[in-house]
Protein backbone atom coordinates (compact mmCIF):
# COMPACT_ATOMS: atom_id res chain seq x y z
CA UNK A 1 0.00 0.00 0.00
CA UNK A 2 2.79 2.40 0.82
CA UNK A 3 4.12 2.56 -2.73
CA UNK A 4 0.66 3.42 -4.01
CA UNK A 5 0.34 6.14 -1.38
CA UNK A 6 3.65 7.76 -2.15
CA UNK A 7 2.75 7.95 -5.82
CA UNK A 8 -0.58 9.66 -5.18
CA UNK A 9 0.36 12.21 -2.54
CA UNK A 10 3.07 14.71 -1.79
CA UNK A 11 6.16 14.25 0.34
CA UNK A 12 7.40 16.61 3.01
CA UNK A 13 9.39 19.18 1.08
CA UNK A 14 12.67 20.52 2.33
CA UNK A 15 13.85 17.38 4.10
CA UNK A 16 14.48 17.35 7.82
CA UNK A 17 11.65 17.87 10.24
CA UNK A 18 12.53 20.07 13.22
CA UNK A 19 12.12 18.83 16.81
CA UNK A 20 12.09 20.80 20.08
CA UNK A 21 10.83 24.07 18.61
CA UNK A 22 9.00 26.53 20.87
CA UNK A 23 5.76 25.78 19.02
CA UNK A 24 6.15 22.04 19.48
CA UNK A 25 6.92 22.48 23.20
CA UNK A 26 4.16 24.99 23.91
CA UNK A 27 1.78 23.09 21.63
CA UNK A 28 2.18 19.99 23.80
CA UNK A 29 0.81 21.93 26.78
CA UNK A 30 -2.12 23.14 24.65
CA UNK A 31 -3.11 19.46 24.27
CA UNK A 32 -3.34 19.07 28.05
CA UNK A 33 -5.82 21.92 28.52
CA UNK A 34 -9.04 21.18 30.32
CA UNK A 35 -7.37 18.19 31.90
CA UNK A 36 -5.98 16.89 35.17
CA UNK A 37 -2.32 15.94 35.67
CA UNK A 38 -1.90 13.58 38.60
CA UNK A 39 1.10 12.85 40.86
CA UNK A 40 1.91 9.12 40.96
CA UNK A 41 4.69 7.19 42.68
CA UNK A 42 4.24 3.68 41.23
CA UNK A 43 3.20 2.13 37.88
CA UNK A 44 0.01 0.90 39.63
CA UNK A 45 -0.94 4.43 40.64
CA UNK A 46 -0.15 5.62 37.11
CA UNK A 47 -2.63 3.07 35.74
CA UNK A 48 -5.30 4.20 38.21
CA UNK A 49 -4.72 7.78 37.06
CA UNK A 50 -4.96 6.83 33.37
CA UNK A 51 -8.11 4.76 34.04
CA UNK A 52 -9.65 7.79 35.73
CA UNK A 53 -9.05 10.01 32.68
CA UNK A 54 -5.88 11.90 33.62
CA UNK A 55 -4.33 13.74 30.64
CA UNK A 56 -0.83 13.04 32.01
CA UNK A 57 0.90 11.75 35.11
CA UNK A 58 3.73 13.28 37.13
CA UNK A 59 6.15 10.54 38.14
CA UNK A 60 7.81 11.18 41.50
CA UNK A 61 9.29 9.25 44.38
CA UNK A 62 7.14 10.70 47.14
CA UNK A 63 4.05 12.88 46.89
CA UNK A 64 4.54 16.36 48.42
CA UNK A 65 2.60 15.43 51.58
CA UNK A 66 5.17 12.69 52.27
CA UNK A 67 8.10 14.96 51.39
CA UNK A 68 6.77 17.31 54.08
CA UNK A 69 6.39 14.48 56.57
CA UNK A 70 9.72 12.75 55.92
CA UNK A 71 11.87 15.86 55.53
CA UNK A 72 15.41 15.53 54.12
CA UNK A 73 16.57 16.43 50.63
CA UNK A 74 14.02 15.70 47.92
CA UNK A 75 15.59 14.83 44.55
CA UNK A 76 14.77 13.62 41.04
CA UNK A 77 13.17 10.16 41.04
CA UNK A 78 14.91 6.84 40.43
CA UNK A 79 15.22 6.24 36.64
CA UNK A 80 13.90 2.67 37.08
CA UNK A 81 10.75 4.04 38.67
CA UNK A 82 10.29 6.53 35.82
CA UNK A 83 10.90 3.80 33.21
CA UNK A 84 8.31 1.64 34.96
CA UNK A 85 5.70 4.38 34.84
CA UNK A 86 6.48 5.24 31.21
CA UNK A 87 5.90 1.64 30.20
CA UNK A 88 2.76 1.27 32.34
CA UNK A 89 0.69 4.00 30.65
CA UNK A 90 0.03 5.41 27.18
CA UNK A 91 -0.59 9.01 28.31
CA UNK A 92 2.22 11.59 28.66
CA UNK A 93 4.59 11.21 31.61
CA UNK A 94 6.14 14.20 33.36
CA UNK A 95 8.87 14.16 36.02
CA UNK A 96 10.42 16.70 38.39
CA UNK A 97 13.95 18.08 38.52
CA UNK A 98 15.29 20.28 41.30
CA UNK A 99 15.41 24.03 40.58
CA UNK A 100 18.70 24.76 38.80
CA UNK A 101 19.71 21.10 38.64
CA UNK A 102 20.16 20.95 34.89
CA UNK A 103 21.87 17.57 35.06
CA UNK A 104 18.78 16.00 36.60
CA UNK A 105 16.89 17.60 33.73
CA UNK A 106 19.37 16.13 31.21
CA UNK A 107 18.80 12.70 32.76
CA UNK A 108 15.02 13.10 32.58
CA UNK A 109 15.29 14.12 28.92
CA UNK A 110 17.40 11.05 28.19
CA UNK A 111 14.74 8.86 29.85
CA UNK A 112 12.19 10.21 27.36
CA UNK A 113 9.78 11.94 29.73
CA UNK A 114 7.32 14.18 27.90
CA UNK A 115 7.60 17.23 30.20
CA UNK A 116 10.05 18.26 32.92
CA UNK A 117 8.73 20.11 35.98
CA UNK A 118 11.52 22.27 37.43
CA UNK A 119 9.84 22.14 40.78
CA UNK A 120 9.97 23.93 44.12
CA UNK A 121 8.56 20.76 45.69
CA UNK A 122 12.06 19.26 45.43
CA UNK A 123 14.97 20.82 47.33
CA UNK A 124 16.53 23.59 45.16
CA UNK A 125 20.03 22.86 43.82
CA UNK A 126 20.82 26.48 42.95
CA UNK A 127 19.56 29.46 44.91
CA UNK A 128 20.33 31.97 42.16
CA UNK A 129 19.78 30.34 38.77
CA UNK A 130 17.06 28.22 37.26
CA UNK A 131 17.98 25.80 34.46
CA UNK A 132 18.40 27.15 30.92
CA UNK A 133 15.33 25.46 29.49
CA UNK A 134 16.00 26.56 25.88
CA UNK A 135 18.88 24.06 25.87
CA UNK A 136 16.47 21.10 25.98
CA UNK A 137 14.28 19.28 23.47
CA UNK A 138 11.95 18.20 26.27
CA UNK A 139 9.61 21.02 27.29
CA UNK A 140 9.49 22.42 30.83
CA UNK A 141 6.71 23.48 33.15
CA UNK A 142 7.58 25.81 36.05
CA UNK A 143 5.73 27.19 39.05
CA UNK A 144 5.01 30.85 39.67
CA UNK A 145 3.40 32.90 42.45
CA UNK A 146 3.06 36.09 40.39
CA UNK A 147 3.35 37.42 36.84
CA UNK A 148 6.98 38.52 37.06
CA UNK A 149 8.05 35.07 38.20
CA UNK A 150 6.00 33.44 35.41
CA UNK A 151 7.61 35.68 32.77
CA UNK A 152 11.13 35.07 34.09
CA UNK A 153 10.53 31.34 33.76
CA UNK A 154 9.15 31.80 30.22
CA UNK A 155 12.20 33.92 29.38
CA UNK A 156 14.36 30.97 30.51
CA UNK A 157 12.40 28.71 28.13
CA UNK A 158 9.48 27.33 30.16
CA UNK A 159 6.74 26.18 27.77
CA UNK A 160 4.01 25.96 30.40
CA UNK A 161 3.35 27.68 33.75
CA UNK A 162 1.51 26.45 36.81
CA UNK A 163 0.55 28.65 39.70
CA UNK A 164 2.47 27.21 42.66
CA UNK A 165 -0.01 27.00 45.48
CA UNK A 166 1.36 25.16 48.50
CA UNK A 167 1.98 21.54 47.51
CA UNK A 168 1.22 18.72 49.93
CA UNK A 169 -1.16 20.71 52.12
CA UNK A 170 -4.53 19.76 50.65
CA UNK A 171 -5.36 23.43 51.19
CA UNK A 172 -6.35 25.40 48.12
CA UNK A 173 -5.83 28.86 49.64
CA UNK A 174 -2.34 29.46 48.23
CA UNK A 175 -3.33 28.16 44.78
CA UNK A 176 -6.14 30.72 44.77
CA UNK A 177 -3.81 33.48 45.96
CA UNK A 178 -1.19 32.80 43.26
CA UNK A 179 -3.62 32.36 40.39
CA UNK A 180 -5.53 35.51 41.35
CA UNK A 181 -2.23 37.38 41.60
CA UNK A 182 -1.15 36.32 38.09
CA UNK A 183 -4.55 37.07 36.53
CA UNK A 184 -4.79 40.39 38.35
CA UNK A 185 -1.34 41.51 37.17
CA UNK A 186 -2.20 40.53 33.59
CA UNK A 187 -5.38 42.61 33.88
CA UNK A 188 -3.40 45.62 35.09
CA UNK A 189 -0.94 45.33 32.16
CA UNK A 190 -3.89 45.47 29.75
CA UNK A 191 -4.74 48.94 31.02
CA UNK A 192 -1.25 50.42 30.50
CA UNK A 193 -0.17 52.36 27.43
CA UNK A 194 3.04 51.74 25.50
CA UNK A 195 5.06 54.27 27.52
CA UNK A 196 4.08 52.63 30.79
CA UNK A 197 4.95 49.10 29.69
CA UNK A 198 8.70 49.80 29.96
CA UNK A 199 8.38 50.74 33.62
CA UNK A 200 6.05 47.80 34.18
CA UNK A 201 8.70 45.45 32.76
CA UNK A 202 11.24 46.92 35.16
CA UNK A 203 8.91 46.46 38.13
CA UNK A 204 8.05 42.91 37.07
CA UNK A 205 11.77 42.17 36.54
CA UNK A 206 10.78 40.56 33.23
CA UNK A 207 11.83 41.15 29.61
CA UNK A 208 9.95 44.03 27.94
CA UNK A 209 9.06 41.93 24.87
CA UNK A 210 7.25 39.37 27.03
CA UNK A 211 5.48 42.06 29.04
CA UNK A 212 4.29 43.69 25.81
CA UNK A 213 3.12 40.33 24.47
CA UNK A 214 1.08 39.64 27.62
CA UNK A 215 -0.42 43.15 27.52
CA UNK A 216 -1.54 42.52 23.94
CA UNK A 217 -2.77 38.92 24.39
CA UNK A 218 -4.40 39.44 27.77
CA UNK A 219 -2.94 36.09 28.78
CA UNK A 220 0.41 34.37 29.15
CA UNK A 221 1.99 33.26 25.85
CA UNK A 222 2.00 29.69 27.26
CA UNK A 223 -0.62 27.50 28.91
CA UNK A 224 -1.39 28.30 32.57
CA UNK A 225 -2.41 25.49 34.94
CA UNK A 226 -2.98 25.60 38.68
CA UNK A 227 -1.25 23.41 41.27
CA UNK A 228 -0.64 23.01 44.97
CA UNK A 229 -3.50 22.16 47.31
CA UNK A 230 -6.31 20.88 45.07
CA UNK A 231 -8.03 18.04 47.01
CA UNK A 232 -11.68 17.96 45.88
CA UNK A 233 -13.71 18.21 42.65
CA UNK A 234 -14.93 21.63 43.80
CA UNK A 235 -11.32 22.78 44.34
CA UNK A 236 -10.47 21.82 40.75
CA UNK A 237 -13.57 23.59 39.40
CA UNK A 238 -12.73 26.67 41.49
CA UNK A 239 -9.30 26.94 39.93
CA UNK A 240 -10.83 26.55 36.45
CA UNK A 241 -13.41 29.24 37.14
CA UNK A 242 -10.61 31.52 38.34
CA UNK A 243 -8.92 31.07 34.96
CA UNK A 244 -6.64 28.04 35.20
CA UNK A 245 -6.62 26.07 31.94
CA UNK A 246 -6.25 22.79 33.82
CA UNK A 247 -5.07 21.46 37.18
CA UNK A 248 -2.26 19.46 38.73
CA UNK A 249 -3.36 17.27 41.62
CA UNK A 250 -0.59 15.97 43.82
CA UNK A 251 -1.21 14.43 47.21
CA UNK A 252 -4.97 15.08 46.98
CA UNK A 253 -5.72 11.86 45.12
CA UNK A 254 -3.48 9.14 46.49
CA UNK A 255 -3.63 10.48 50.06
CA UNK A 256 -7.43 10.15 50.03
CA UNK A 257 -9.67 7.23 51.00
CA UNK A 258 -10.68 6.11 47.46
CA UNK A 259 -8.10 7.37 44.93
CA UNK A 260 -9.70 5.86 41.79
CA UNK A 261 -13.08 7.37 42.52
CA UNK A 262 -11.71 10.75 43.60
CA UNK A 263 -9.45 10.94 40.53
CA UNK A 264 -12.38 10.29 38.15
CA UNK A 265 -14.51 12.81 40.04
CA UNK A 266 -11.85 15.54 39.76
CA UNK A 267 -11.55 14.86 36.00
CA UNK A 268 -15.32 15.32 35.56
CA UNK A 269 -15.41 18.49 37.66
CA UNK A 270 -12.47 19.94 35.70
CA UNK A 271 -14.33 19.53 32.38
CA UNK A 272 -17.73 20.70 33.71
CA UNK A 273 -16.21 23.31 36.01
CA UNK A 274 -19.09 25.72 35.42
CA UNK A 275 -21.90 23.22 36.10
CA UNK A 276 -22.61 22.97 39.86
CA UNK A 277 -24.98 20.01 39.42
CA UNK A 278 -22.29 17.91 37.78
CA UNK A 279 -19.74 19.01 40.40
CA UNK A 280 -22.23 18.05 43.13
CA UNK A 281 -22.76 14.59 41.60
CA UNK A 282 -19.02 14.12 41.21
CA UNK A 283 -18.53 15.07 44.86
CA UNK A 284 -20.83 12.36 46.27
CA UNK A 285 -19.55 9.34 48.15
CA UNK A 286 -15.84 9.91 47.59
CA UNK A 287 -14.70 8.71 51.01
CA UNK A 288 -12.16 10.60 53.09
CA UNK A 289 -10.39 13.58 51.55
CA UNK A 290 -6.76 14.08 52.55
CA UNK A 291 -6.62 15.68 55.97
CA UNK A 292 -4.83 18.84 54.95
CA UNK A 293 -2.72 21.48 56.66
CA UNK A 294 -3.61 25.06 57.53
CA UNK A 295 -1.08 27.13 55.60
CA UNK A 296 -0.90 29.91 58.21
CA UNK A 297 0.58 27.40 60.67
CA UNK A 298 3.34 26.40 58.22
CA UNK A 299 6.79 27.64 59.28
CA UNK A 300 8.45 29.86 56.67
CA UNK A 301 11.10 27.24 55.89
CA UNK A 302 8.41 24.71 54.98
CA UNK A 303 6.71 26.95 52.45
CA UNK A 304 7.70 25.49 49.09
CA UNK A 305 6.19 28.44 47.19
CA UNK A 306 9.01 30.66 48.48
CA UNK A 307 11.53 28.52 46.61
CA UNK A 308 12.37 29.90 43.18
CA UNK A 309 12.59 33.60 42.45
Amino acid sequence: MSSELSSTSAQVPGGNPETGTARVKRGMAEQLKGGVIMDVVTPEEAKIAEDAGAVAVMALERVPADIRKDGGVARMSDPDMIDGIISAVSIPVMAKSRIGHFVEAQVLQSLGVDYIDESEVLTPADEVNHSDKWAFTTPFVCGATNLGEALRRIAEGAAMIRSKGEAGTGNVVEAVRHLRQIKNEIGRLRALDNHELYAAAKELRAPYELVKEVAELGKLPVVLFSAGGVATPADAALMRQLGAEGVFVGSGIFKSGDPAKRAAAIVKATTFYDDPKIIADASRDLGEAMVGINCDTLPEAERYANRGW
Binding site: V12, P17, V24, E30, P139
Partner: protein, 217 residues
Protein backbone atom coordinates in the same frame (compact mmCIF):
# COMPACT_ATOMS: atom_id res chain seq x y z
CA UNK B 1 -20.67 32.08 -3.57
CA UNK B 2 -24.11 31.51 -2.03
CA UNK B 3 -27.38 33.35 -2.44
CA UNK B 4 -28.17 35.96 0.17
CA UNK B 5 -31.89 35.34 0.54
CA UNK B 6 -31.88 34.43 4.24
CA UNK B 7 -29.29 33.32 6.80
CA UNK B 8 -29.00 29.55 6.70
CA UNK B 9 -26.64 26.80 7.61
CA UNK B 10 -25.17 27.12 4.13
CA UNK B 11 -24.27 30.79 4.70
CA UNK B 12 -23.39 30.79 8.37
CA UNK B 13 -22.85 27.23 9.50
CA UNK B 14 -22.71 26.58 13.22
CA UNK B 15 -19.67 24.42 13.87
CA UNK B 16 -19.25 22.83 17.26
CA UNK B 17 -15.91 22.00 18.85
CA UNK B 18 -16.02 18.99 21.15
CA UNK B 19 -15.01 20.67 24.42
CA UNK B 20 -14.45 17.78 26.80
CA UNK B 21 -10.69 18.40 26.86
CA UNK B 22 -7.94 19.69 24.58
CA UNK B 23 -7.07 22.73 22.45
CA UNK B 24 -10.68 23.83 22.06
CA UNK B 25 -10.01 27.58 22.12
CA UNK B 26 -7.58 27.41 19.18
CA UNK B 27 -10.12 25.52 17.04
CA UNK B 28 -12.87 27.98 17.96
CA UNK B 29 -10.59 30.85 16.88
CA UNK B 30 -9.53 29.14 13.65
CA UNK B 31 -13.16 28.35 12.72
CA UNK B 32 -14.20 31.93 13.41
CA UNK B 33 -11.28 33.05 11.24
CA UNK B 34 -12.60 30.76 8.49
CA UNK B 35 -16.08 32.34 8.62
CA UNK B 36 -18.06 29.90 10.78
CA UNK B 37 -20.05 30.44 13.95
CA UNK B 38 -18.03 28.31 16.34
CA UNK B 39 -19.37 26.97 19.64
CA UNK B 40 -18.08 24.58 22.29
CA UNK B 41 -20.00 21.28 22.58
CA UNK B 42 -20.08 19.34 25.84
CA UNK B 43 -23.69 18.14 25.92
CA UNK B 44 -26.05 16.29 23.54
CA UNK B 45 -28.33 19.36 23.16
CA UNK B 46 -25.34 21.49 22.12
CA UNK B 47 -24.38 18.80 19.59
CA UNK B 48 -27.91 18.84 18.16
CA UNK B 49 -27.51 22.53 17.22
CA UNK B 50 -24.27 22.04 15.29
CA UNK B 51 -24.11 21.72 11.49
CA UNK B 52 -20.59 20.31 11.75
CA UNK B 53 -18.15 19.27 14.47
CA UNK B 54 -14.44 19.58 15.16
CA UNK B 55 -12.85 17.02 17.46
CA UNK B 56 -9.80 18.88 18.81
CA UNK B 57 -6.32 17.84 19.72
CA UNK B 58 -5.87 16.61 23.28
CA UNK B 59 -5.64 13.31 25.09
CA UNK B 60 -7.83 10.79 23.26
CA UNK B 61 -8.19 8.44 26.26
CA UNK B 62 -9.52 11.31 28.39
CA UNK B 63 -11.92 12.51 25.71
CA UNK B 64 -13.25 9.00 25.11
CA UNK B 65 -13.79 8.40 28.81
CA UNK B 66 -15.66 11.69 29.28
CA UNK B 67 -17.74 11.13 26.11
CA UNK B 68 -18.91 7.80 27.55
CA UNK B 69 -19.46 9.16 31.09
CA UNK B 70 -21.63 12.05 29.90
CA UNK B 71 -23.70 10.16 27.31
CA UNK B 72 -22.18 11.90 24.31
CA UNK B 73 -20.62 8.95 22.46
CA UNK B 74 -23.82 7.47 20.97
CA UNK B 75 -25.26 10.86 19.92
CA UNK B 76 -21.90 11.62 18.26
CA UNK B 77 -21.95 8.29 16.40
CA UNK B 78 -25.56 8.85 15.30
CA UNK B 79 -24.85 12.33 13.93
CA UNK B 80 -21.82 11.12 12.03
CA UNK B 81 -23.72 8.13 10.62
CA UNK B 82 -26.39 10.62 9.51
CA UNK B 83 -23.79 12.56 7.53
CA UNK B 84 -22.77 15.45 9.81
CA UNK B 85 -19.39 16.75 8.62
CA UNK B 86 -16.60 16.34 11.15
CA UNK B 87 -12.92 17.23 11.31
CA UNK B 88 -10.45 15.77 13.80
CA UNK B 89 -6.88 16.91 14.47
CA UNK B 90 -4.42 14.57 16.25
CA UNK B 91 -6.51 13.09 19.10
CA UNK B 92 -9.51 14.03 16.94
CA UNK B 93 -8.13 11.85 14.14
CA UNK B 94 -7.96 8.96 16.62
CA UNK B 95 -11.55 9.64 17.69
CA UNK B 96 -12.79 9.52 14.07
CA UNK B 97 -10.98 6.26 13.25
CA UNK B 98 -12.95 3.03 12.96
CA UNK B 99 -9.97 1.16 14.46
CA UNK B 100 -6.92 2.17 16.47
CA UNK B 101 -3.57 0.61 17.40
CA UNK B 102 -1.57 1.28 20.58
CA UNK B 103 -4.61 2.63 22.36
CA UNK B 104 -5.94 1.42 25.67
CA UNK B 105 -7.68 -1.97 25.45
CA UNK B 106 -11.02 -0.42 26.41
CA UNK B 107 -10.60 2.77 24.38
CA UNK B 108 -13.74 3.82 22.50
CA UNK B 109 -13.71 5.95 19.37
CA UNK B 110 -16.56 7.75 17.62
CA UNK B 111 -15.45 6.17 14.35
CA UNK B 112 -16.69 7.05 10.87
CA UNK B 113 -13.52 6.95 8.79
CA UNK B 114 -12.63 3.51 7.46
CA UNK B 115 -9.02 3.55 8.63
CA UNK B 116 -6.67 2.15 11.24
CA UNK B 117 -4.81 4.87 13.16
CA UNK B 118 -1.72 4.22 15.27
CA UNK B 119 -1.67 6.34 18.42
CA UNK B 120 1.57 8.21 19.28
CA UNK B 121 3.03 6.65 16.12
CA UNK B 122 5.77 9.26 15.61
CA UNK B 123 6.97 8.75 19.18
CA UNK B 124 6.98 10.62 22.47
CA UNK B 125 7.29 14.38 22.97
CA UNK B 126 11.05 14.45 22.26
CA UNK B 127 10.23 13.14 18.76
CA UNK B 128 7.46 15.70 18.21
CA UNK B 129 8.32 17.92 15.24
CA UNK B 130 7.23 20.53 12.79
CA UNK B 131 7.50 20.17 9.04
CA UNK B 132 5.97 21.67 5.92
CA UNK B 133 3.26 19.38 4.51
CA UNK B 134 1.83 19.48 0.98
CA UNK B 135 -1.87 18.72 1.32
CA UNK B 136 -4.19 17.92 -1.60
CA UNK B 137 -7.11 20.35 -1.71
CA UNK B 138 -5.11 23.12 -0.02
CA UNK B 139 -3.79 25.74 -2.44
CA UNK B 140 -1.06 28.28 -1.80
CA UNK B 141 1.83 26.09 -0.76
CA UNK B 142 2.44 23.61 2.04
CA UNK B 143 0.79 23.88 5.45
CA UNK B 144 2.90 24.10 8.59
CA UNK B 145 2.49 20.70 10.19
CA UNK B 146 2.87 20.58 13.97
CA UNK B 147 3.11 16.91 14.98
CA UNK B 148 2.82 16.47 18.75
CA UNK B 149 2.99 12.88 20.00
CA UNK B 150 1.13 12.49 16.76
CA UNK B 151 -0.70 9.50 15.33
CA UNK B 152 -0.40 8.34 11.75
CA UNK B 153 -2.74 6.38 9.53
CA UNK B 154 -1.64 2.78 9.30
CA UNK B 155 -4.07 1.74 6.54
CA UNK B 156 -7.20 3.03 4.84
CA UNK B 157 -10.26 1.46 3.22
CA UNK B 158 -11.21 1.94 -0.43
CA UNK B 159 -13.42 4.98 0.18
CA UNK B 160 -10.75 7.02 1.96
CA UNK B 161 -8.76 9.64 0.10
CA UNK B 162 -5.23 10.29 1.35
CA UNK B 163 -4.54 14.05 1.22
CA UNK B 164 -1.02 14.15 2.65
CA UNK B 165 1.77 11.85 3.73
CA UNK B 166 4.95 12.15 5.75
CA UNK B 167 8.08 10.01 5.56
CA UNK B 168 9.30 8.83 8.94
CA UNK B 169 12.82 7.41 9.05
CA UNK B 170 13.02 3.69 8.39
CA UNK B 171 9.32 3.04 8.70
CA UNK B 172 8.47 4.61 5.36
CA UNK B 173 5.67 6.90 4.32
CA UNK B 174 2.47 7.34 6.30
CA UNK B 175 -0.77 9.18 5.58
CA UNK B 176 -1.24 12.18 7.89
CA UNK B 177 -4.32 13.77 6.32
CA UNK B 178 -7.35 11.88 5.00
CA UNK B 179 -10.90 12.47 3.86
CA UNK B 180 -13.86 10.17 3.52
CA UNK B 181 -17.04 11.89 2.38
CA UNK B 182 -17.87 14.57 4.95
CA UNK B 183 -15.16 13.46 7.36
CA UNK B 184 -11.68 15.01 7.48
CA UNK B 185 -8.75 14.16 9.74
CA UNK B 186 -5.15 15.34 10.18
CA UNK B 187 -2.34 14.00 12.39
CA UNK B 188 -1.11 17.56 12.82
CA UNK B 189 -2.51 20.74 14.38
CA UNK B 190 -3.37 23.56 11.94
CA UNK B 191 -5.21 25.24 14.84
CA UNK B 192 -1.85 26.04 16.46
CA UNK B 193 -0.34 27.83 13.47
CA UNK B 194 -2.54 30.80 12.58
CA UNK B 195 -2.92 29.35 9.04
CA UNK B 196 -6.68 28.77 8.62
CA UNK B 197 -6.68 27.00 5.25
CA UNK B 198 -7.51 23.54 6.61
CA UNK B 199 -10.36 25.04 8.64
CA UNK B 200 -11.53 26.90 5.52
CA UNK B 201 -11.62 23.57 3.68
CA UNK B 202 -13.69 22.09 6.49
CA UNK B 203 -16.07 25.06 6.63
CA UNK B 204 -16.57 24.68 2.85
CA UNK B 205 -17.39 20.98 3.44
CA UNK B 206 -19.99 21.96 6.07
CA UNK B 207 -21.52 24.57 3.75
CA UNK B 208 -21.70 22.07 0.87
CA UNK B 209 -23.36 19.48 3.13
CA UNK B 210 -25.89 22.07 4.32
CA UNK B 211 -26.70 23.07 0.71
CA UNK B 212 -27.10 19.40 -0.18
CA UNK B 213 -29.47 18.86 2.75
CA UNK B 214 -31.47 21.99 1.83
CA UNK B 215 -31.78 20.84 -1.81
CA UNK B 216 -32.89 17.38 -0.74
CA UNK B 217 -35.48 18.66 1.74
Amino acid sequence: MSTHSKPSAADHPVIGVLALQGDVREHLAALAGAGALARPVRRPDELAEADGLVVPGGESTTMAKLAVAFGLLEPLRERIRAGMPAYGSCAGMIMLADKILDGRDDQETIGGIDMIVRRNAFGRQNESFEAAVEMAGIDGGPVEGLFIRAPWVESVGAGVEVLATVRSGESGTHPVAVRQGNLLATSFHPELTGDHRVHELFVAMVRAAARCAAAGA
